[in-house]
Symmetry: C2
Subunit: 330 residues, 2 copies
Amino acid sequence: MSATIRDVARQAGVSIATVSRVMREHDNVSPGTRDRVNAAVADLSFTPSSLGRSLAERRHAANGIVFPDLSGPYYAEVVLGYESVAAELGRSVLILSTHGRAAGPAMVEEMAGRCDGLVIMGQTVPDTVVERLARRVPVVLLARPQIGTVDSVKADNVDSAKSLIEHVIASGDRQIILIGDPDLSPDVAERWAGFEKVAAAHPEVHLEQRHPGLFGERAGTNTVREAIRSGLPDAFVCANDEMALGVLSELRAHDIDVPGQVRVTGWDDIMAAKYAGLTTVRQPMRDLGGTAARLLDEIITGSRNHPRHEVLPTELVVRTSSGLSRKDMR
Amino acid sequence: MSATIRDVARQAGVSIATVSRVMREHDNVSPGTRDRVNAAVADLSFTPSSLGRSLAERRHAANGIVFPDLSGPYYAEVVLGYESVAAELGRSVLILSTHGRAAGPAMVEEMAGRCDGLVIMGQTVPDTVVERLARRVPVVLLARPQIGTVDSVKADNVDSAKSLIEHVIASGDRQIILIGDPDLSPDVAERWAGFEKVAAAHPEVHLEQRHPGLFGERAGTNTVREAIRSGLPDAFVCANDEMALGVLSELRAHDIDVPGQVRVTGWDDIMAAKYAGLTTVRQPMRDLGGTAARLLDEIITGSRNHPRHEVLPTELVVRTSSGLSRKDMR
DNA sequence: TTGAAAGCGCTAACAG
DNA sequence: CTGTTAGCGCTTTCAA
């Protein structure tokens, strides 16, 4: 067992209150006493128990982030952006992936008890749970629509959705398949809405939604297989890059030329997008996490008391050639 | 302030011990009492303080993972694999990126005080710090050479390094540039050693190391620029996929054909590798994290007391065509 | 400048 | 089956 404040006090011949003062760097301690305490601290290699300290101070000096699933670069980047800023602000970082588990809400509640505030990402828990949590601790919503006056951060979906679909339409595409499930992601719902709005002004354009129920490469490959039977569209517009990559890879497997026969777009601009020559919308993933961390800190420290809702800009990235090879897509 | 165990006890007309029993699901509580307590719990929406509980139980029910830097898919995948298993084992997960900060060791020590054990990845802190930490709490080393009897998990580097270099040599390459800094990563050091061993049996082959000092795409592009001046090799063998992608992209920018004029290989098999047609070595990134989580849990729960050192297999992935487009590599 | 003492919220003997 | 009580390790008045 490691040394406690009492061991140090005994060895230095002072009271625990004095040891506490020295550890907290209160200046009302005489230099001589301070030195003796520090010597004892070093000798016993004493580290204050964060548990004891937190209990007495009634704060954790930690905060958490909850995200739905861990697969794919998008969540990873966001979480890492969050960690980076939170660590800078001197707070430990707890992470939790609900992963569609039924126990998700319970796990989040548990986590809420371990930190001074938390960031809730996307569709991890129902609104009712968010509301309950927000009553207990400061909460920031990330990539999720506003709930009451809870702070939120998100990337712009609508403007870029419009730019993207306008680009696709301007390229001459009329039959367009949208791949992605709006029910599983508020971001996707907004993007689809942006598309529909633009399409409404183009009667010759037809958008058709496909909801594969997942967001990985497989969602793309599956959809292409179906489309090959029912008839290829002019373009596959995907809710994220991974699906788009799946689409590309399946099209290649069938010797269908991109963008000659059909166009493909993604969303996020993950690293692979560049190498696949994928047209997409760049999201500031790191910044999303970092901004959430900062907003949360502001609430926790009380440096701000009116709610904020940040919308970070996105950018259409048009790439003209596909870099996919048709072989060796294992 | 939220309700405490005393509030519940008062409202239910019982002692705090009884409330504790109900919460812990001890069965020596009469049904009637249990119901009254549960009613009070619900009424006050009482959640036991994890702090109080941890202090009394002398355990955190949390463990941590430390990694060097967050950039790139490799660390992200490992961390996520770790989270997944740790959560399954009912432990909260703390993450910390030392990020080359001078305060790194102090931050890790701080974190050690918040959890029941931790995983230390790669070159995050010096050996002396690891030894001190290991004396305080259970530790598992991840992708880092053994230190004393501390548990460790790593991917096989040597065997795959041999397969890879043999593949390159068999393809006819003689002048080979290795890109990556062995001092910054134990994994890289092992891979380079594996290469050298094989090369020793091939006097006609010449390996030349380049240490760019970082591990991102830029490391690759920079090295190619230098090599173009000093003379192109037959192959660039890179310590990870990101560097290799940087190499590919810079070669393309100079209209140098891959693999016609020069061959490029990576390591890790990140998602982009497939779409860039990159030959590489697949590492079980998720599994590395997951295995570390399991080993750590075994030590913490005391279900094992002799040290273990796991080496997970890797796999050479040969891809024959590059999918890189020469345009639009923004 | 220092110490005594009362918590922070909970668990776990030990008694009854 | 239930209550009393003594901690877990620290911070922080309040006195001295």
